[in-house]
Subunit: 250 residues, 2 copies
DNA sequence: GGAATAGGAG
DNA sequence: CTCCTATTCC
C-alpha cells in the first residue's frame, strides 16, 4: 500500500500538481492538507477512482483523505479548525494532520500550537490502544532537528524550530510513533517545505516539516519513504510550497 | 497597415489571448482597452517588436497603443479616467477609446457618458481639422442600431441601446466619420461583446459595441474590417468578454 | 510569494 | 461571470 501526503495550499489551485503526483506515484491513499475549501467545494469528480473523505473549511486549513478502497472515517479531535481526519483501512488507522503554524514564541498562536500538540498526542495514545496499526501523516509545522532545516543558525528560534515546539513533537512520538524518514535515512538532509519568498523555493532552502509517523507495531511493514520533488523542481506553473511525501507499506 | 482593437478586460489576465491575436493577425498597430493597470505595471517586455504608448490607470479603464513603427503620442482629452490615447503615424492619427459604460438612464453615470461623448466629439472635430486622416478605434459601449444587438426587444432601453446613447454616437460620426464595418457590411449581424453571465458568451448573445471609425478622407484606403472570434470560440481558458476587431488599411 | 476572501465594477 | 483591490494567513 502506497500512502502519499501533500500540503496542497489550496486544492482548487493545485489540481495539475495532484494529477502529476497521481500519474507518478499512483498512491492507494492520498492525504491532503490545506485544501482551503468547504466540503461542497471539494473536487470529488477529479478523484475518479477514489473514495474521498473530507474535513473542509472555508479559506483556511481543511484536510481530506482519498482512498482507492473504502474505509471508515474517524473523528480524531473535536476541533473548531479543520486540521485532522482519520480513516480506518483494514486493520490500519491513517491519520491525516495539518498542525497549527504557531507564529513566534510568546504569541497566542504559539501557545495554541503547543496546546494542540498536547491534545493531539493524548488522543493518539488513546487511538493507539484501539487500533493495532497507526500511520500519522501530514504537515506538522515543526522541524524535529537541526539537520531538518537548511540553515539552523539563521532559522534558530523561528517558527518550527523553537525548543518548545520540538519537545511537543517529540512528546507525540514518545507515545509510540517513529519518524519513518529519519529511521530509514538517519543523516539525509531533505526538505518538504520551502518559503515562497526570497526565492528559497528555487535555492532548495527549506525545512522538513511534513512527516510520516508509524506506530512501532507498523514499522516492520514500512518499506520506504521519500519526498517527491519533481513537481516543484520542474517549476510547475505554480507549485505548492510543500512537496508530497510518499510512504510504501507492505 | 493592419490596425487591431481589443478590449482585453485586464491585460495581465489576457496575455495568452493577445499572443494568439498577434500570431493570427500580426497587426502593425494594436489598440487595447481596459488594461486595468498603471503604466509601470504594463507588460512592455511582452510586446517585443512594438513601441508601447500607455495611458494606464489602477484597477479600472486604461488604454494603450502598441505600434511596430514609432509614432507621436497625442493627448486626446484632459481626463480623470484613462480612456483615450492618440498616436500619429505618418499622416494618420489613430485614436484609441474606451468610452464610459454609463449605467441605466437617470443615473449619474448615464449623464456622464453623454457628456463624455459631447466632449469627445468636439475634440475629434478639432483633431480632424489638424490631421488629414483619422482612425478612431475602441470600445464605445453603445450599439448603434437594432441589428447590432442579439435581441433588440429584450435589450430595449438597457445599457448601450438607449436612444440618447445612440444619438450621442451618431453625433460623433456626423463630425466626419464612417462606421467602417457597417459601411462594408450593411446587413451583417456580428457582435464584439458578450455578457459573461447567463452563458451569453457561449450562445453568441452579444452586441456590437467595438468599432473602427474612419474619417471620410481615409475611407478610400480602407480595405476590410472583421471581428476575430476564434479566440473566444475556441473557449480559450478565460477569454475577454470582447472580441478583437481588425481593420486593414492600404 | 501565493491562495483565498470580501467588495466593487463591468 | 470575471476582473481588480484589499486583507489575512502561511
Amino acid at each position: 500500500m502506497k500512502v502519499a501526503t501533500f500540503n496542497v495550499n489550496g486544492i482548487r489551485a493545485r489540481l495539475d500538481s495532484i494529477s502529476e503526483l497521481m500519474q507518478m506515484e499512483a498512491p492507494d491513499v492520498l492525504c491532503l492538507q490545506e485544501i482551503k475549501c468547504e466540503n461542497d467545494l471539494f473536487p470529488y469528480d477529479f478523484f475518479k477512482d477514489y473514495q474521498c473523505y473530507v474535513n473542509g473549511q472555508k479559506a483556511y486549513n481543511g484536510v481530506s483523505i482519498c482512498s482507492r478502497k473504502e474505509g471508515v472515517p474517524v473523528v480524531v479531535l473535536e476541533e473548531v479548525e479543520s486540521r485532522t481526519l482519520g480513516l480506518v483501512l483494514g486493520d490500519t488507522l491513517i491519520v491525516n494532520v495539518y498542525a497549527p503554524h504557531g507564529d513566534l514564541r510568546g504569541s497566542p498562536r504559539f501557545f495554541q500550537k503547543i496546546q494542540w500538540y498536547k491534545a493531539f498526542s493524548k488522543r493518539m495514545e488513546e487511538l493507539l490502544r484501539r487500533y493495532p496499526k497507526v500511520l500519522i501523516v501530514g504537515d506538522f509545522n515543526i522541524a524535529l532537528k537541526d539537520n531538518d532545516v537548511w540553515d539552523p543558525i539563521l532559522l534558530k528560534d523561528t517558527v518550527g524550530t523553537f525548543p518548545e515546539e520540538r519537545e511537543a513533537l517529540k512528546a507525540l512520538l514518545s507515545v509510540g510513533f517513529v519518524d519513518v524518514f529519519r529511521a530509514i535515512y538517519p543523516e539525509k538532509v531533505q526538505f518538504t517545505w520551502w518559503d515562497y519568498r526570497q526565492g528559497r523555493m528555487w535555492k532548495n532552502q527549506g525545512m522538513r516539516i511534513d512527516y510520516v509517523f508509524s506506530s512501532e507495531t507498523l514499522m516492520p511493514s514500512i518499506e520506504d519513504v521519500y519526498v517527491v520533488e519533481e513537481i516543484r523542481k520542474r517549476r510547475n506553473p505554480k507549485p505548492s510550497d510543500h512537496a508530497p511525501v510518499v510512504c510504501v507499506v507492505k
